[in-house]
Symmetry: C2
Subunit: 473 residues, 2 copies
């Protein structure tokens, strides 16, 4: 995958006279790496005004990238140099570790200003990890209404829909006409910046339906909202887990979904662009978990990274020692024929690789609902057959290599047989272990690898050394 690192500067607002000009092409600007280099250089020379000048016309996401890649001290210096020109939206785009660093380092007045300008969900992210005292001080500087909304948002659990939603939405009554809806939109000030769906509610703010904005615009003025509203809508509960919400959006191709509280009262809206980030995060989590890493940010410190990775390594140390115990049972055999020691890691290693292949496919299929009780037997059979076929292919190759290397057809036969056995075990472990964990309501992504490699090590060493001691000695 190629990294997308070229950016576009904001096109200057085109006047009527300039309409013929094409929109600024994305490829002409400096890359993020070049910008970071220039900013760092300016900072080193103590010229923070020049540093601010370099980044001041960047798009939000690009400035966020630049800030992420700077050193912690330069991040603060750059934001302070930007002063009023700093785009607070950057704080909602930035990596969590960096955001927490910034919200601790920046003065509370600046944060209070940021909170006022940001959407409620982003404002909540900004202050959620602050110390109580700082958070209180910032909240106290907000208008009463905004403060109440933000406090409510912070009451929802982490990673809940309530944290993800926008508190601003457009709600209308079913007996309104299209004309009334348009007038309401024209005259009301505290509507969201952009919206594509309007919700229809009863007096208790329970959701009756939704109307897509394009439907509104295409309907005649006198048509009633109740006539054009869609009633087949997905309600999201504010306490629903964000990953679950994302899967619903994906499943049903939703553009927006109303969020309701425990009384079924409409409290916010989640739009598909909020969900994109959740999908990416969930995929990240799964991928890292499969690689034996917890939820780790690239910006995390040495100490926290080392701490988060060591548990999995210790568990693996345990399973590796288990493999050693198996080998020890055959130490007399190995003493008689040291070629066994030379070859045994091959059997275990290929088994581990084949098991990882099956496990990866299985974990991903479970996460994306492609694997369920209905097709599990068919997929298990397929994996077993694939394991046997590949076992035979690889056995033939290794038998040939061993015959040429050690000049022993018997040794070649033994390693081939052990390889078939271990690949079959690997295939079954690779699918059955994640399925079993999922059935036990455990997340298969982080835990499967340990068990799969344990089985391929133990079976690999046992099959190879056991067969060797039976046949060769």
């Amino acid at each position: 995958m190629r990294v997308f690192f070229k950016l576009a500067l904001k096109a200057v607002g085109a006047s009527m006279a300039g309409l013929e000009e094409q929109v600024t092409p994305a490829a002409e600007a400096l890359s993020v790496d070049e910008l970071v280099r220039d900013v760092t250089l300016a900072m080193q020379e103590g010229d923070s005004a020049r540093a601010a000048e370099i980044v001041k016309d960047l798009r939000t996401r690009d400035l966020a990238d630049v800030i992420e890649l700077l050193t912690p001290e330069n991040r603060i210096a750059l934001i302070q140099a930007l002063g009023a020109a700093f785009d607070f939206e950057v704080l909602s785009e930035i990596d969590e570790t960096v955001r927490d660093q910034l919200s601790e380092a920046l003065p509370n007045e600046l944060l209070a200003k940021a909170v006022t300008e940001l959407d409620t969900d982003d404002a909540a992210y900004l202050i959620e990890n602050l110390e109580d005292e700082d958070r209180e001080e910032i909240l106290s500087q907000l208008p009463r209404n905004e403060r109440a909304i933000l406090e409510r948002q912070l009451e929802f659990p982490d990673y809940s829909a309530g944290r993800l939603m926008q508190s601003d939405f457009v709600a209308v009554a079913p007996y309104w006409t299209v004309q009334q809806v348009i007038e309401h939109a024209r005259e009301t000030d505290d509507l969201p910046d952009t919206f594509s769906e309007i919700f229809v509610v009863d007096p208790a703010f329970r959701v009756l339906g939704s109307v897509d904005l394009s439907r509104v615009i295409r309907s005649k003025r006198e048509v009633l909202v109740s006539e054009i509203m869609e009633t087949d809508i997905h309600l999201v509960k504010a306490t629903d887990e964000q990953g679950e919400v994302a899967r619903q959006f994906e499943r049903y191709d939703l553009m927006a979904a109303p969020v309701v509280d425990q009384n079924n009262k409409l409290v916010g809206v989640i739009t598909v662009d909020d969900v994109v980030e959740v999908i990416q995060d969930e995929a990240d989590e799964d991928m890292l978990a499969l690689g034996g890493v917890g939820d780790e940010s690239i910006g995390a410190s040495v100490a926290s990274t080392a701490r988060s990775r060591i548990p999995w390594l210790i568990v693996n140390l345990g399973t590796a020692v288990l493999g050693s115990l198996v080998i020890q049972q055959f130490d007399a055999t190995i003493e008689q024929m040291v070629a066994l020691a030379v070859l045994m890691p091959v059997v275990a290693s290929i088994g581990g690789n084949a098991g990882t292949q099956t496990m990866t496919v299985t974990v991903r299929a479970l996460a994306t609902s492609k694997l369920g009780a209905a097709n599990a037997p068919r997929i298990i059979t397929r994996e077993a057959l694939v394991a046997l076929i590949n076992g035979v292919v690889l056995s033939t190759i290794i038998a040939g290599i061993v015959f040429l290397w050690f000049g022993s057809g018997m040794l070649g036969g033994v390693i081939a047989a052990a390889m078939v056995v271990n690949l079959f075990a690997a295939g079954l472990a690779g699918i059955l272990i994640p399925l079993a964990l999922d059935r036990l309501k455990l997340d298969p992504a982080p835990a499967s690898g340990v068990f799969v490699s344990m089985i391929t090590d133990v079976v690999g060493f046992f099959a190879f050394l056991g067969l060797a001691s039976l046949i060769l000695l």
Copy 2:
């Protein structure tokens, strides 16, 4: 991650009288697994009418799931039993392998009907893999205009923006008033079903800007489009790679982007909901690649699965044999002290795990643009330090275990030293190899694992056996 398997039946269209009723909650319906079981049972009893009855009120995505989980024969039988009640949208939701199976098995007349009803991008997916003869027959049954659009779409390369885009869009002139836009929307029939953005074009259909629908609705009737249009827009070229487009949507929080051809003429629009699937697919691809699997569908046959997985296993066989060659250099040492054979896989295995951790984080950071030339030195230093810290921790543990097990402090010291060396090598390999591959414009996800495990095997065996032969014998 929990699998989302409970579904909602379509809520029946609420009449005005029924407005007080709440929308059907999602939890009451049958699960996909239960539906598949019931349908399979009905099919076994030859009662395909009952099977059709069971699924006829399902949402598109849920019916797609049921069809995916059925056996190939039952899939065809169910679709034929549904007849006119079959929702063709299912074909655009379904897994690619299953879609190809269906489009080969279903009669061409049915496919032609499906193509007419589907959006152009989905219609293109449906017939792209058919044999030329069948595709021609289906295309010949389409109205001329639709046929031309579909043929143009099929001319764009696979995985290009042109294949992902919708050919229907709303385009207006900059000198139109809001009133004219609304009237145009009310009176034109061939607009997309829903849209949230309107594109402003010149007479040659070059994009001048875009207007969010909520902006239209909130503006006074006499306001000109040119006054409210956004000119800072992201143009997507029809030949752009879909993954690249998805990263732009994510980066800049886009809701929709205009797609232009080589003459900068507007030819379509991509909306964020199209992109959600691409993001998911890209994450899938990366995850499978890290697990040593190509782009593999859970529905693929035994033969194609075995074939797609074997190359990686053969490459790994090669690196494992390389490890064996290292061990062989020390066969005299092992003969003298068989405990070395018992313990050596531990050193290699933990190194492999630690290398995989670093590699996974690195590959993911590269894919999501969190790692670039600007912060690479800092991250490399961090990984080296993490590797040293965890190396020392794990070495202490294994030294203790070995001392208790074999009663030799020297052997414990040797394995501890080898472990520190190998974890350091693993940490560096885990970050430097993906970075190098990325610099060479190669995809780091599939290739990194082989090199990392090669290094941890070779270094692990060499450090442990080499130190042992120097110190212990």
